[in-house]
């Protein structure tokens, strides 16, 4: 496949996602809206009672923002967009027309995850920019995050977005159903994961949970699963597994299934 073809295939995957207004509105609400709400809420709290509520910005506010983007609402936005990327061709019936062009099914699959990641990162970039501005504007005398922490946090959010979007694309490509994928992926990320993390009897098995591995690599403090210590090598291996398995399953189903 030539570079020109690859670039165009990625471009149309992105076009397909960004032209879906409902999807983009919900995803923006999750990634950006939730962050704006958080800063507004904490700013109002601080203004109403400065003695008992810390300023909305500074290091504390930045940490909150990074966790929201990398572990909570940003991840949910990535899952929404990944689900659409993984299922839209199948559920609309366009996949069979694309297969009938003679283009390899693997190539048709290969651009779904990168497109979902790029579209989500565009929203994350806006959210992250808002977070940085709010962090400094609303610091109220609190220490500000260093440039190194900001850059590490940005990289970690890219990682987190990549993981969630790829998971959703893989599951979506296997199931072919938006409903099943959304229920499965969002249910796993928003409900099952917090529950499992709190089941201490699971012990080190919890290190295999994607969110736990992500938390262990997070450059800021706190967060879901942060209490579980995971060696960096283990975390990297866990994340590689979470990246590889859904991708492999999605590719296998796309290549072998009836169109």
């Amino acid at each position: 496949m030539s570079l020109e073809v690859a670039r165009e295939m990625l471009a149309v995957e992105i076009l397909r996602l960004r032209r879906n207004r409902v999807l983009m509105a919900f995803s923006a609400l999750l990634a950006i809206g939730s962050l704006v709400l958080m800063f507004c809420f904490e700013a109002v709290q601080h203004a109403s009672s400065p003695a008992t509520n810390a300023p909305a910005g500074g290091t504390v506010g930045f940490d909150h923002a990074v966790r929201m983007l990398g572990l909570m609402f940003g991840v949910l936005a990535a899952a929404l967009i990944g689900t659409e990327a993984g299922t839209a061709d199948l559920s609309s019936g366009v996949f069979r027309d694309l297969v009938a062009t003679g283009r390899s099914r693997l190539a048709l699959f290969a651009f779904r995850a990168p497109a979902a990641i790029l579209v989500t990162l565009a929203l994350d970039a806006v959210a992250f920019a808002i977070a940085i501005v709010a962090t400094f504007l609303l610091a109220g005398g609190q220490p500000d995050p260093t440039l190194a922490v900001i850059l590490q946090s940005a990289a970690w959010i890219v990682l987190s977005t990549t993981m969630a979007a790829t998971l959703a694309v893989g599951v979506g490509s296997v199931s072919g159903s938006r409903g099943v994928t959304l229920t499965g992926v969002l249910g796993w990320l928003a409900i099952a994961t917090p529950l499992l993390i709190n089941v201490s009897s699971l012990g080190s098995v919890r290190e295999g949970i994607m969110t736990v591995a992500l938390s262990s690599l997070m450059p800021v403090s706190g967060g879901l699963g942060a209490s579980i210590a995971v060696p960096t090598a283990v975390a990297v291996a866990v994340l590689a597994g979470w990246l590889a398995v859904p991708t492999a399953l999605g590719a296998w189903k796309t290549v072998t299934g009836d169109a």
Binding site: E8, R19, A88, G93, D97, L98, V99, A100
Partner: protein, 308 residues
Amino acid sequence: MTTTANIIETHGLCKHFGRRQAVADLDLSVPRGCAFGFLGHNGAGKTTVIRMLLGLTRADAGTMRILGRPVPAERAAALARVGAIVEEPNFHRHLTGRENLRVSAAARGPDARRRIDAALRRVGLSERADERVRSYSQGMRQRLGVARCLLADPELLILDEPMNGLDPGGILELRTMIARLTGEGRTVFLSSHLLDEVENTCDAAAVIDQGRLVAQGPISELVGGALELDIGCDSPRLALDLLDGDPAIATARQTADGLRIRLAGADGVASINERLVAAGIGVFRLAPVRESLEQRFLEITSRVGGQS
């Protein structure tokens, strides 16, 4: 451009769904440069054959060649000059017509992208190309589907039940478009259960019944397997007696103003006329009565059905 005589060839093609045999030992030959009808009842296996040809589902046995290339072994090269609409043309409804063509063109390559405007013009959708597909009528979606096929500059168009859901105007438009496409030397492979449409649109056809090919060839041969003659004459009784036992005649019966005879073979019309005139019978009409494709289709498919 490849130059094999048949643009589609299958040999021994089989497909099962569980224990049900959807396609059985199918040997199909579609000549190049014509409109070819692929006839069958609903569920006869037409779409399954098309899906196998396009690599949408695997064949259990048999070989297929499209444009002279074996599929699925050389599927990408074979399908590069094939445009297809399977079952119904599907689109991303939130994208415009033009954007949907861009999605398809991206999979085909830069040449296809350059053909988008021309394809839209050709199907008469230029003015509505920037509207979302969700606002399109069924006929417009069908035309957009044809435009998507044209992105490949196809030697072969495979259209699965293209008349479905179209109003009479839409059917006429599509028929005209198919005639133009074949006039350009392209081959149109058209599956349908609408027999009169195939008879009006196609040069040749194949009939599939319960997954088996029961007939194929030029439409004239398919419908003309048994030629009947309508003879208008002034002494029908005498004419019937005269022709009784003639080896060129399979059956004969008297009608109000003459005879209706079924010929045993393609020849014999001239000698029948000669015998009648020589016997002093005034012949004022000698017209072939051809079966419609529908009559022929029902005859051959019900025969197979009766055997199963």
